[in-house]
Amino acid sequence: MVATTLEPGLKHAHFRTAGLPAMLLLPQLLILLLFFFIPSIRALMQAFLLADPFGATVHFVWFDNFTALFASESYRNSIWVTIWFTLAQNVVTIVVALVLAFATDRVVRFQSAYKGVILLPYAIAPVIAGVIWAFLFNPAVGPIAFCIKSFGIAWDPNLNGWDAMLLVVLAASWKHICYDYIFLVAGLLAVPKSLMEAAAVDGAGPVKRFFQIALPLLGPTLFFLTTMNFVYGFFETFAIIDAVTRGGPAGATNILVYKVYQDGFINLDLGSSAAQSVLLMTFALLLTLLQFKYVERKVNYSI
């Protein structure tokens, strides 16, 4: 029964029945079929169709939905908004997480208490984080908005697009720093002590060692975190946008995933929404491929 030739990902000792594995796979594949494959294929089909608002007639329109998208001012605006939003969020998250991880690596006392508190936002739903930040920066009642105004700076995220963008970037980063932080702490812990000691003997101080030894070794982790931050910024910040700005004012925070929702469920433009979904899917797949490249790299460079 034990076979000697090995397929990839198959245990050396394995069973050779046919019916049982099919039964075991059935629930997973059935759910994937209903809620993953069919919806994805539907999105692909709809992206090439044009239906009138009542769904009475449907035409095949080739790439019209896509050309209409790229011609539309609001979609191009949404692309730029998404780029700015994800980049800013990425930079803020990684820099703060790196500083905190470096500090955590150096301290001995209270280390686990610090970690425990810094990890807390992971448990908080994005929409709740959004509600709290919307309150803090609310121009009428928010305590932080009050502080900003007391410096004589005008502040109103309901009217000023840049204020709104700053607010969603802060809220999104606040919620996500903990994620990058925990991976960087784990990464720093894996840096070989011998390397650090050798560098210290050569006279490199702690900060220099961090930049010249730890940071390059953290390269793969940073790469992984950057892709994960993009995934987060692109897809999971929907709730923050919906709670804080609803894409406004005047589309200043209308990121792509929020626009899919708006066009699909509020404006009921299914063809356009599906075309946007397809573009987002393509982008998600690109990120996935990048991810796998990273996994490969991690294996090669593992210490």
Binding site: M1, F15, L25, T104, Y122, A140
Partner: protein, 306 residues
């Protein structure tokens, strides 16, 4: 630590305290706002110390959006997602690592493809799938023209229209969120590290495949299951987009959606105190889980992104 450097250590402590302030400050203000009356919360500047109306505001929030029911819904959905995903993932990971059958590689790739294509990008079509899960069967009927076939055979004309509406149901909230393979891969990776000798020994003792799964593989996976369950519980509890779309019936919404309904808009009274107390209530269960099971949580987080 390589060398002692008291100044740097002090700076590090200060940085970490800064980080803690950054995390806690919004929560602290939320708590203060949640403990004030509506008049107090609108004072400029807002008081910096908590008032005594927290329970009162909580009661208002509770009755305003029926939090009792919403919390129950959140628990059912979060636990449903956790148990469902762990169960189907364990079974399918077992199938693709421990069995050799003809379509093994195909099954592997089908599951693999669903990895990392987030639910958010196929919002509209998934909504359709949930609004009528029988739709694929309907297409099949239309495609094969079964109606015409029946008419041709029997001479009767029938109209087949199937409907299986899952809006406002627990399965509608749970099933689409189980449809991803991340957990399957976690278990697959783990099963590949289990020593082959275990199966060989079990086989010598005459154990069947399922018996090996139940008595050996499952107990070995215990710590992986716990770590992953925490992550999935948080994921399920904090879902927003799906419950928002799938639940038109207010009694079927989740606690997180309840908080959204409490946010004051420009045309409503600015009851931020009630909104903040509700927000703190809805975040309590996942926060407790993370605090109590921190070690497992960190492990689950790192494992599930491998």
């Amino acid at each position: 630590m390589v060398e002692r450097s008291p100044i740097l250590t002090t700076i590090c402590h200060l940085l970490l305290i800064g980080g803690i302030v950054l995390v806690c400050m919004p929560l602290y203000f939320a708590f203060i706002a949640g403990s004030l009356t509506m008049e107090q919360v609108q004072q400029v500047p807002m008081p910096w110390l908590p008032g005594g109306h927290f329970i009162e505001n909580l009661a208002t929030a509770w009755s305003k959006v029926d939090f009792g029911q919403l919390l129950v819904n959140s628990f059912i959905v979060a636990i449903g997602i956790t148990v469902g995903k762990v169960a189907i993932s364990l079974l399918s990971a077992f199938a693709i690592t421990y069995f050799r059958f003809r379509f093994r590689i195909l099954a592997f790739w089908l599951i693999f493809m669903s990895l990392m294509l987030p639910v958010e990008v196929r919002i509209v079509p998934t909504y359709e799938a949930v609004a009528n899960a029988a739709l694929p069967i309907q297409w099949l009927i239309d495609l094969l023209n079964l109606q015409g076939l029946w008419e041709w055979i029997s001479g009767d004309r029938i109209e087949i229209s199937l409907e299986w509406n899952m809006l406002n149901t627990y399965q509608g909230l749970i099933l689409p969120l189980i449809a991803s393979a991340s957990a399957t891969f976690l278990f697959r990776q783990f099963f590949l590290t289990v020593p082959d000798e275990l199966l060989e020994a079990a086989r010598l003792d005459g154990a069947s495949a399922m018996r090996f799964f139940w008595t050996i593989l499952l107990p070995l996976s215990r710590s992986n299951i716990i770590a992953l369950s925490i992550i999935l519980f948080l994921y399920g509890w904090n879902q927003y987009l799906w419950p928002l779309l799938f639940t038109t019936d207010k009694d079927m919404a989740t606690a997180v959606i309840g908080v959204k309904h409490l946010i004051p808009r420009s045309d409503t009274e600015p009851a931020w105190n009630v909104a903040m107390s509700g927000a703190l209530l809805a975040m309590l269960p996942p926060v407790v889980v993370v605090l109590v099971m921190q070690r497992w949580f960190v492990r689950g987080l790192v494992d599930s992104s491998k």
